[in-house]
């Protein structure tokens, strides 16, 4: 009824190729941004913002990064957590060396370090493909995780062996450290995520994104068409690691407020982000958000939702049953919709477009 594109004529090529060609979509996006910027800080409590929304934003950014690599370029990576770790440690070292530079700038710059490391570990992708590459990227995961623990220079020779986030301010409002309010940290995360998502959207809809997709669909054919595989694959690794690095820096500085690599940047985190990408939908930016929301909120829902439904569960058993249910849900989800939440979203929109008629 209200979701109709009738009467919206496109008179230019640009309008036809727009990311959101339908007016209602643009209104919807504006409403979502409005809720994110105004609604949630007004309505949400501290707990909701700091343990639901900030993790969701951080995971979304990491998932977008992995989606660029796996969904758009077709290179499976199991080392995302390690690249996030590079971002976090780079940010820590940078803010130690340059305490006066704004922390937001440093978070973005630390992504560049992560990108460099990503390119290094992406080099084998030129010869190795498929699952062989996936296992090869585990080399990055284990090597970097080892380095985070064994190279004391990385954590400034702290006794705890962990990153200790210092207090950093912008216009006398503290952004990181113990005195930063959840709202401030949420706003910083939100702005970073929105800007970087806009950037990613422009990348994947443009020439670079198309060359990535050509490589994904068949790399030999792409090479014959004049796409340089070396450049395309390494650029995908660089951009993907950049996003992962920024997400990692955000994770430590704006969410955890400190932490040790062996607790945070483990292989389980890598797998979780891969889950988000696949359950959300490969090759879809909106899918990255949906997948991150699903996987990040699942344990919380299980923890608080099941007792609310009247299922009595106690401490350790609850954790084990949660594990089982997460596993079962993943399988169920893959069976119901192997193309992910993004496909469900599309189907829903199509249904809405023709509603109340079946087609």
């Amino acid at each position: 009824m209200f979701y109709r594109e009738a009467g919206q004529f496109k008179s230019t090529y640009q309008a036809d190729m727009a990311v959101f060609p339908i007016k209602q979509d643009r209104i919807g996006l504006a409403i979502i941004l409005g809720i994110a910027f105004i609604g949630i800080p007004l309505v949400g409590g501290d707990f909701f913002i700091s343990s639901v929304m900030i993790p969701f934003l951080v995971f979304s950014l990491a998932a977008i990064g992995l989606n660029i690599l796996t969904g758009y370029t077709g290179l499976i990576s199991l080392g995302t957590a390690a690249f996030m770790g590079v971002g976090a440690y780079a940010c820590y070292k940078l803010t130690t060396f340059f305490p006066d530079v704004n922390i937001i700038v440093l978070i973005l710059v630390s992504g560049l370090f992560s990108a460099a490391i990503g390119v290094l570990f992406g080099l084998p992708s030129l010869r190795i493909k498929g699952f062989y590459l996936a296992v090869a990227t585990l080399a990055a995961q284990f090597f970097l995780q080892w380095a985070f623990v064994r190279v004391p220079w990385l954590f400034n020779y702290n006794a705890s062996g962990a990153i200790e986030v210092p207090q950093r301010t912008l216009f006398d409002i503290s952004l990181t450290g113990a005195s930063a309010t959840p709202e401030t940290r949420y706003f910083v995360c939100l702005v970073l995520v929105v800007v970087l998502t806009w950037f990613a959207s422009n990348l994947v809809h443009g020439k670079i994104g198309r060359s990535w997709m050509a490589v994904r669909d068949m790399d030999i054919a792409a090479e014959l068409m004049g796409i340089k595989l070396l450049n395309a694959k390494l650029l995908a690794f660089a951009v993907s690691s950049f996003y992962a690095g920024v997400a990692g820096a955000m994770m430590i500085f704006l969410w955890y407020g400190g932490g040790e690599a062996n607790d945070v940047f483990t292989i389980r985190l890598s797998f979780n982000i891969l889950f988000m990408v696949i359950i959300g939908g490969l090759g879809s930016l909106i899918g990255s958000f949906l997948g991150a929301a699903f996987i990040a909120s699942l344990p919380t829902i299980m923890k608080f939702g099941l007792p609310a439904l009247g299922v009595p569960l106690s401490g350790a058993t609850a954790e084990h049953v949660t594990f089982m249910l997460v596993g079962a849900l993943i399988i169920l989800f893959l069976i119901v919709e192997p193309h992910g939440l993004a496909r469900l979203w599309q189907i829903g929109k199509q249904k809405l477009r023709t509603w109340p008629f079946p087609y």
Binding site: E319, F323, V326, I331
Partner: protein, 358 residues
């Protein structure tokens, strides 16, 4: 005549990958030799000379290290074997193999603790693994048939999570002792006098090596000479062709997953006897992955030889070179060894050659 002038000199093709690799290797060696000559701080000496010096001066330690590498290599190979069986027959990259090992061992120990005699517990555990194989085929594989590989890969992650949760709910999260004595597995160590030193071999390790070789032989015979084995090979070659000659894919998948379950149980017993049975083994099971890419996903001999290379390489590296950079390099060395091999053979040492066409 112009032909002859254009011919490359001396017949060496400088663009060939092998020639280039040999040249690079030669250059590195030359640089190394020059470096050692002009090395004032002794760093290069520590990397390139000291370890070999130690090996020659204390051969008993070298033998001990190689033996330990060999044993852990056999255990990696056993996990990799389970992967290969499933990958060959169903094309599924089964991430859950490591968890199946833990789950089988936990079931065995858990049943024994409930008062079931040891050997009956083994049989019951096999029953559980069979039920698991049928359930996986029915619930996971059948609805997901014809989906892209990565979706099936993800589904085995789901199985992993489910089995971890199930195992911990039923048997509790505490580490358990493997019932070594009750299964008549030997204990203790043999001391060998060798090169003026002692080499100690754990009896359980010897048993593990023997049992693993036996199992591989049995599997080879099973694949080569039985009706089901032929069907399995047919399915591995081509799903469609196998279907068209009347082989039931569903049945084959159950058999393959059950075989992988048996392999998992044996691996679990061996591994559980060396340490204790707990979900910490899950991380160790990830070591089977470099073994897999080194040997190739589709080759059983590859899994075994890959396992031995990784096991020995890792132990030698950790023992002789590890201390130079702070130790603990076992966690990633295996991946770098595998990566080194992969750069020369992208499909693994024994994997099927990947032929790409447009």
């Amino acid at each position: 005549m112009s032909d002859a002038t254009l011919r490359p000199i001396a017949g060496i093709n400088f663009n060939s990958f092998r020639v280039r690799a040999a040249l690079i290797l030669a250059a590195v060696l030359l640089l190394g030799i020059i470096g050692i000559r002009f090395d004032s701080s002794g760093t290069l000496h520590k990397i390139f000379v000291d370890p070999f010096d130690q090996m020659v001066s204390a051969p008993d330690l070298l033998v001990q290290t190689i033996w330990e590498g060999l044993v852990s290599g056999v255990l990696y190979a056993l996990i990799a074997l389970g992967f290969v069986l499933i990958f060959k027959a169903s094309g599924v990259f089964n991430f859950a193999q490591g968890i199946m090992v833990v789950f089988a061992a936990l079931t065995l120990v858990g049943l024994y603790e409930k008062g079931v005699p040891a050997f009956l517990a083994v049989i019951l555990t096999l029953g559980v693994m069979f039920v698991l194989a049928v359930a996986i085929e029915r619930v996971v594989l059948r609805p997901l048939v014809n989906q892209p590989d990565i979706i099936l890969f993800m589904a085995t992650f789901g199985i992993t999570y489910f089995l971890i949760g199930l195992g911990e709910t039923v048997f509790g999260g505490n580490p358990k002792q493997m019932i070594t004595d009750q299964l008549h597995l030997p204990r203790g160590a043999i001391e060998l006098k060798l090169f003026g030193g002692f080499v100690s071999l754990q009896k359980i390790d010897i048993a593990a090596a023997i049992i693993a070789s036996l199992m591989i032989a049995v599997l080879a015979v099973f694949f080569q000479y039985t009706r089901i084995g032929r069907a399995l090979r047919a399915v591995a070659d081509s799903h469609k062709a196998a279907l068209s000659v009347g082989i039931s894919l569903n049945q084959i998948w159950v058999i393959v997953w059950f075989t992988a379950g048996i392999v998992a149980l044996i691996t679990g017993i061996m591994w559980g006897a060396r340490s204790d049975v707990s979900f910490a083994l899950e991380i160790v099971a990830l070591k089977a992955l470099p073994v897999l890419i080194l040997g190739g996903f589709t080759s059983i001999p590859g899994a075994i030889i890959g396992g031995l290379i990784i096991g020995i390489g890792e132990k030698l590296g950790e023992f002789y070179w590890g201390p130079l950079i702070g130790g603990g390099i076992e966690s990633w060395l295996a991946y770098f060894i595998a990566l080194g091999f992969l750069l020369f053979r992208p499909q693994g040492l024994f994997g099927d050659k990947i032929i790409e066409r447009i």
